[in-house]
């Protein structure tokens, strides 16, 4: 990991000094080790804070919507999952590709800070990708215990980049990403209802899921738009919790790359990705396997059809 970071830093410095790019989009060190955050670096000096390690879970692609509107070219480091979002944004004309220099970087899974905190962790003492564990408060955790949910099932590969920095082969996941969706589907309607009521009632409508989502890049969200007919700044009742999440999932259906950012950032730990993944599973089952962001030209499943599509009445897989 250290070596990877060195290579990336080198690349960033070279491109900055050659003037090929004017800014670098990457991750910045925090004070506590695990509190890494996305950042735009504008000088070689500022790159002192640059970091790439197991805490760099954040998806950088969405920042490019604004960043590529600015003058000059920006270098961005994209993990495999980020690049699918990046492609989807290119497809939707949200990013100006000419203004980005993309470098794909190896990723072997990132750590879920919430899981760390659940274990009472305040300071990370050391982490070592090679030996695959993290030491915190003198306690060792294997990565499997504290890895992000999205990483434990990640099958994404490195797509087309201007350049790739990768040392080791990516490990393939041992879990099926639809496992939980299937489990829910096999429950009774009452059990499912109870599950979601329990989960969604925790929603505090902080909008973090929406704000982090690379597919949610609307100028103004329908929930903030008084003219949309469904504007709601906060949930006024239990229905609106459902409404918000159903509509949000529906709006990104066929466009969601399953990057898992929504669940990563949810302060209430609601497994929001299970909603998106339900749509992805249904789309794969009903209309053929589709991975949003895998390319930049294909029609999405909801903007396409075949004459033989199933009828809604024949769909329910529950």
């Amino acid at each position: 990991m250290q070596k990877l970071e060195t290579l990336m830093l080198e690349k960033a410095k070279n491109l900055l000094s050659s003037g090929e790019v004017s800014r670098v989009l990457g991750w910045k060190k925090g004070e506590l080790g695990y509190d890494v955050e996305p950042s735009v670096f504008t000088s070689a000096q500022s790159l002192d804070n640059f970091v790439y390690n197991v805490f760099c879970g954040a998806n950088l692609s969405k920042y490019l919507v604004q960043e590529t509107k600015k003058e000059g070219k920006i270098l961005v480091f994209l993990k495999p999952c980020d690049s699918y979002s990046f492609n989807q944004l290119i497809k939707e004309h949200r990013i100006n590709k000419d203004k980005v220099y993309t470098v794909g970087v190896e990723c072997q899974g990132k750590i879920d800070n919430y899981k760390l905190k659940e274990n009472g962790i305040e300071v990370v003492e050391s982490f070592d990708e090679e030996v695959d564990f993290v030491t915190v408060n003198g306690k060792k955790f294997t990565k499997g215990e504290i890895v992000l949910g999205k990483c434990s099932v990640c099958e994404k590969k490195l797509l087309d980049y201007d350049e790739v920095i990768s040392i080791n082969e990516k490990r393939s996941p041992d879990k099926d990403r639809f496992e939980m969706v299937k489990k829910l589907e096999s429950m009774t309607a009452d059990e499912r209802y109870a599950f979601w009521k329990d989960q969604l009632s925790n929603c505090i409508r902080c909008n973090a899921c929406r704000n982090v989502c690379p597919a949610c890049t609307c100028t103004k969200c329908v929930f903030d738009n008084d003219n949309s007919g469904i504007a709601s700044k906060a949930n006024s009742d239990s229905f609106e919790e459902k409404m918000f999440h159903i509509i949000r999932a529906f709006h990104v259906a066929g466009r969601c790359t399953d990057c898992g950012e929504c669940s990563r950032v949810c302060p209430q730990h609601i497994p929001l990705h299970l909603l998106n993944r339900k749509f992805i599973g249904d789309i794969n089952r009903l209309y053929g396997t589709y991975q949003a962001g895998e390319d930049t030209t294909s029609k999405g499943p909801l903007t396409d059809y075949t004459k033989q599509d199933v009828d809604p009445s024949d769909v329910f897989g529950g």
């Binding site: 949200r94 100028t219 329908v222 949309s228 990104v252 999405g300 903007t303």
Partner: protein, 663 residues
């Protein structure tokens, strides 16, 4: 402040017998915004309409709700009523209290309650209505016909006859298409050239018709009434205006080994040639692949020989742009390639020919001057075997799943003509089914059997092989339950037909939809068979589906009638209930354009002020009012809610939902 008038119709006893119309009027009067609420026996009658008109004037109504029969019945009537009283016609909403209330419910209390709810719902919607005006767009009074076969020729002639200008764009060097290659035509057996060439000449002489041969469509922009089309006029190396078609150059050309396309490659032609004697335009063309002068700069004999200096070896492709109000697609067909059908030996044996090749072999202007000889040794064939459905009705993937429709009839024609002209020839036809619906068609086919003694064998051919100089045709005779082998001199394959390959590209350019077999889709299979779903695009001939000459001609004329109907209008009134994009919300993601069946949505980069003197350029969607038909597919596809439909806006529909659900 809105001033709404509610008008409850009795419809005689149709409504009044089950709905307490007075109560409905009374209750709705109490709704906020309602200033007048009336009931009347027949609201659609002159008196009823007068009631509405007067109320509009007297109370200065801003909107009208009519509780009456279905809007499909009288919405247009009441819109006109309001318009005549100075109210925008789209400020009218109808509550359907007859078909959807009084006629289906018996209980008066229940029906009355429902009528009130429907009325409320209409009022709720009306409050969010905005005056709408139908946009107008001018119509360019000129039509483009793509394809110069019989379909395109007929459409063009009919359109020109009505006084409009037409351009025919044809990709080959002459118009005439496949029909020009035919010998005789069924079911009357008149000669194809005799009935086609006068039409071709008519086209050439008609001052309203401009023929552009050896030309292709480069791009199509615009919409119904206002298409902008770029046409590539490919270099023919002969000045069309100067060439007189004397043919002197053809005699002198030393490079004579080009395959003659017009004769299906059965003989050769010089590098400079006129496709056939009656070609329109009757102008030579040089094949640059074959011309010695163009290839290696040595020759130039034709230029020396040409009295009018028409030869220009340096001619380049030229792109011209023209505007049209309507586009007719008449791209026609071609026989399929037979590479998947090795069992019939088409590529192995010279004497296995397609039906279209046979047409040339029988044609007086063909390679054998009309004397039917087999290609291998130019001897008269004594046994001829026809095989039908070669590649038609084939779902195995080798051929086409559909019936090519014309083969049964032309095979009967060929069989009959051969037996007529060469009575000592034995003719066999292998068939699966003989399909002859059409006036005098079955009689025609029966004549082949009964009068001319053509041997029809129900069954398919399994293989064709050579033995002792004969083509052995081995197949099933299902009626006699036998496997038969017929030693033949000539084998004729009724190859399936498929749309001209150029149609795919053209369909994309004009945003016309196309089916899995590359046939263009009609707007409605039964009721709008000559129109494409894309406004202003019309379908003529086989590009829409297999058809014979009589059918093609009638469809071509029907198509022309539709074009004339369009071009006769000075202005097109657009649908008022169209989609529109809120540019402040639009992210330019292209999702809406993906679902638009009409190609009405395009994107522009627009500059927006951000405040503080800053601006930002954003890609936003714009809807062409003239093209949008108002289905609303885009409004739901749009994730940001920027797309909305006038007359059926999100807020309006949700207001209706609210009103209905209020208990």
């Amino acid at each position: 402040m809105q001033k709404i008038g509610v008008f409850v119709c009795w419809c005689g006893s149709n409504i009044a017998a089950t709905v307490d119309v007075k109560k409905v009027a009374e209750v709705l009067k109490a709704e906020p915004g309602v200033v007048i609420s009336e009931n009347y026996q027949y609201m659609c009658s002159e008196n009823g309409q007068a009631l509405i008109r007067n109320a509009i004037k007297e109370h200065g109504l801003t909107g009208v709700v009519v509780c009456s029969c279905s809007p499909r019945m009288h919405e247009a009537t009441f819109r006109k009523t309001c318009e005549s009283a100075g109210l925008n016609p789209y400020m009218v909403e109808i509550a359907n209290i007859r078909e959807q209330c009084s006629w289906i419910h018996k209980d008066i209390e229940e029906a009355t309650e429902k009528a009130i709810i429907l009325g409320r719902s209409a009022i709720a919607k009306l409050k969010l209505n905005a005056p709408l005006t139908s946009g107008e767009s001018a119509v360019v009074k000129r039509a483009l016909v793509i394809g110069g076969g019989i379909a395109g020729i007929q459409s063009a002639l009919d359109i020109a006859e009505a006084g409009f200008e037409v351009d025919i764009v044809e990709q080959s060097p002459t118009i005439g298409g496949n029909m020009a290659k035919l010998d005789k035509t069924f079911p009357t057996l008149d000669c194809a050239a005799c009935i086609l060439t006068p039409k071709m000449v008519d086209c050439a002489q008609n001052e309203k018709i401009d023929i552009m041969t050896f030309s292709e469509i480069e791009s199509v922009k615009g919409f119904v009434g206002n298409f902008k089309v770029q046409i590539r006029r490919k270099a023919r190396f002969v000045d069309e205006k100067k060439c007189t078609g004397c043919g002197e150059c053809m005699q002198k050309c030393p490079s004579k080994k080009g395959l003659n396309d017009f004769n299906m490659g059965l003989n050769t032609r010089p590098a400079i040639y006129i496709p056939f004697a009656q070609a329109i335009p009757n102008v030579a063309i040089i094949d640059p692949e074959q011309c010695l002068k163009i290839k290696n700069g040595k020759c130039g004999l034709c230029a020396m020989k040409c009295n009018v200096n028409a030869i220009d070896y340096t001619q380049k492709d030229e792109i011209i742009e023209r505007e049209y109000g309507a586009i007719v697609v008449a791209t026609g067909y071609k026989p399929i390639s037979l590479e998947n059908f090795n069992e019939y030996g088409y590529s192995s044996y010279k004497d296995v020919v397609t039906s279209l090749e046979l047409e040339r072999l029988m044609n007086a202007a063909g390679p054998s001057d009309g004397h039917l000889v087999r290609p291998s040794d130019h001897k008269e064939p004594k046994v001829i075997t026809f095989i039908q459905c070669v590649g038609s009705r084939d779902t195995s993937g080798c051929g086409k799943p559909y019936c090519s429709k014309i083969c049964c009839m032309y095979t009967a024609k060929h069989a009959m003509l051969i037996r007529e002209k060469y009575p000592d020839t034995e003719v066999h036809v292998f068939y699966i089914d003989v399909r002859t619906p059409g006036k005098n068609y079955d009689e025609f086919f029966r004549r082949a059997v009964e009068q001319y003694g053509v041997d029809y064998i129900k069954g398919m051919v399994g293989k064709v092989y050579e033995e002792n100089g004969k083509l052995m045709v081995q197949g099933s005779d299902l009626i006699n339950n036998e496997q038969v082998v017929i030693p033949s001199d000539l084998v004729v394959l009724a190859a399936a037909i498929e749309p001209n390959p150029s149609v795919r590209n053209i369909a994309t350019m004009v945003t016309a939809s196309i089916d899995t077999n590359n046939f263009l889709t009609e707007a409605h299979a039964k009721l709008r068979p000559v129109e494409s779903p894309t406004a202003g695009i019309f379908l003529s001939g086989v590009c829409q589906g297999p058809k014979d000459i009589p059918e093609t001609v009638s469809q071509a004329s029907a198509c022309a009638a539709k074009v004339i109907g369009l071009l006769a209008k000075d202005k097109l009134k657009c649908n008022a209930c169209v989609s529109h994009s809120d540019e402040m919300l639009c992210t330019g993601c292209s999702v809406c354009a993906n679902v638009c069946p009409y190609g009405a949505i395009t994107y522009v980069d627009k500059e927006f002020r951000l405040g503080g003197g800053k601006t930002e350029v954003r890609r936003v969607a714009t809807v062409n009012d003239a093209v949008c038909q108002g289905c609303g597919a885009c409004t739901v596809a749009c994730p940001s809610g920027a797309m909305d439909l006038k007359g059926f806006s999100n807020k309006q529909i949700m207001a209706e939902v609210d009103a209905i659900c209020k208990r």
